[in-house]
Amino acid sequence: MDTDVIPLGHYLLVGCALFICGGMCMAVKRNAIGALMGVELILNGANVNLIAASRYTALGIDGQVFALFVIVLAAAEAAIALAIALNFYNNLNTVDVDAANLLSG
């Protein structure tokens, strides 16, 4: 193959980097909205993998259909998680995820 052609592995590595940044964001951030941004990064890393596979393998349009479903689910997840974060803030007056210990017995 030509050296100029980008291999599939490079797209997968971009997806890996986004996934790991998202995972670290969820682990490290104490702000609930920061953790939510980590979830968005993880879903985007998965989307990069899906669309790269739809272009580089015989998967074809199916990968794009599932990436579309992932985008819709991410939007729904952001809306419901924001509503939960707002309720959390109204009740406890903070968005620190470590303050959510009311059920910890």
């Binding site: 030509d2 100029d4 052609v5 291999p7 599939l8 592995g9 797209y11 590595l13 971009v14 890996c16 980097a17 986004l18 790991i20 940044c21 998202g22 995972g23 670290m24 964001c25 682990a27 490290v28 104490r30 609930a32 909205i33 939510l36 941004m37 980590g38 968005e40 985007n44 989307n47 990069v48 669309i51 790269a52 739809s54 272009r55 580089y56 393998t57 015989a58 998967l59 074809g60 349009i61 199916d62 794009q64 579309l68 479903f69 985008i71 819709v72 689910l73 991410a74 939007a75 729904a76 809306a79 419901i80 924001l82 509503a83 707002l86 309720n87 803030y89 903070t94 968005v95 620190d96």
Partner: protein, 241 residues
């Protein structure tokens, strides 16, 4: 400079912007800066989608993520900005631990991805949209090629490439309507009509509707009036008349 070189350069620019934005989300301590890094990252990922000939997905990424989800997140930041918090940022020790674990996990993934010969995997499969486009390009640039195998591959690629050359909206819409065109792998890549994604589409639209109603119900402004105060207030009001 050929189009493949331009594609490679664009890929490396967009990939570094996307990874840089993601790192900015992880490393910055202010939540508005995190949102800005997320906008940069998602925009660059939309560019990567365009580079992968998924034009509808790139536009949807820009409109839904950068235009919608980020606005919701920034509203969340604004509505919770008056939080009485002692320590919202992670300590340096926690950050170092997370960076070490993340680096180890990334190294594991790099080795895993690098251990697979993706060209060999693709060669065992039916022809991919990208290989079809490449074969078509090669056929158009060198008309005098006598290679029969390349000719046959390009002929098989013709129908697929014409569908996949940056025009993904029509196949996406058809597949969501339940009439997906699929290549019959046993009959040499013949295009037939297969079952599509009508039922998942309906399920996900109902899911989105229910989730949005639930979110509006959860996030509605509650009156902060205790039941006893409300009773005495209305009682006093009626007593006055």
């Amino acid at each position: 400079m050929g189009s493949l070189q331009i594609e490679a350069i664009l890929f490396y620019i967009l990939a570094s912007i996307a990874v840089g934005g993601a790192l900015a989300v992880v490393l910055s301590q202010h939540v508005v800066r995190m949102a800005a890094g997320l906008v940069v990252c998602l925009g660059a990922v939309a560019g990567l989608f365009m580079l992968l000939h998924a034009d509808f997905l790139g536009a949807a990424q820009l409109m839904i993520y950068v235009g919608g989800t980020i606005v919701i997140l920034i509203f969340g930041v604004m509505l919770t900005s008056g939080a009485l918090v002692g320590r919202v940022n992670a300590s340096p020790g926690e950050m170092l631990g997370a960076l070490g674990l993340g680096g180890l996990f990334f190294a594991l993934m790099v080795f895993t991805v690098g251990a697979v010969d993706w060209e060999a995997v693709a060669a065992r499969q039916p022809i991919s949209p990208r290989d079809a486009d490449l074969a078509l390009d090669r056929l158009q640039t060198s008309e005098t090629s006598n290679d029969n195998q390349a000719q046959a591959k390009a002929d098989r690629a013709q129908t697929l490439a014409e569908r996949s050359a940056g025009r993904s909206t029509r196949p996406l819409g058809i597949s969501l309507l339940g009439m997906r065109h699929e290549t019959d792998k046993l009959a040499g890549g013949k295009v037939t009509a297969g079952t599509g994604y009508l039922l998942p589409f309906e399920i996900i639209s109902m899911h989105l509707l229910v989730v949005l109603i639930g979110a509006a119900y959860l996030a509605r402004a509650k009156q902060k009036v205790k039941p006893n105060e409300q009773l005495t207030m209305t009682g006093g009001y009626s007593h006055g008349h």
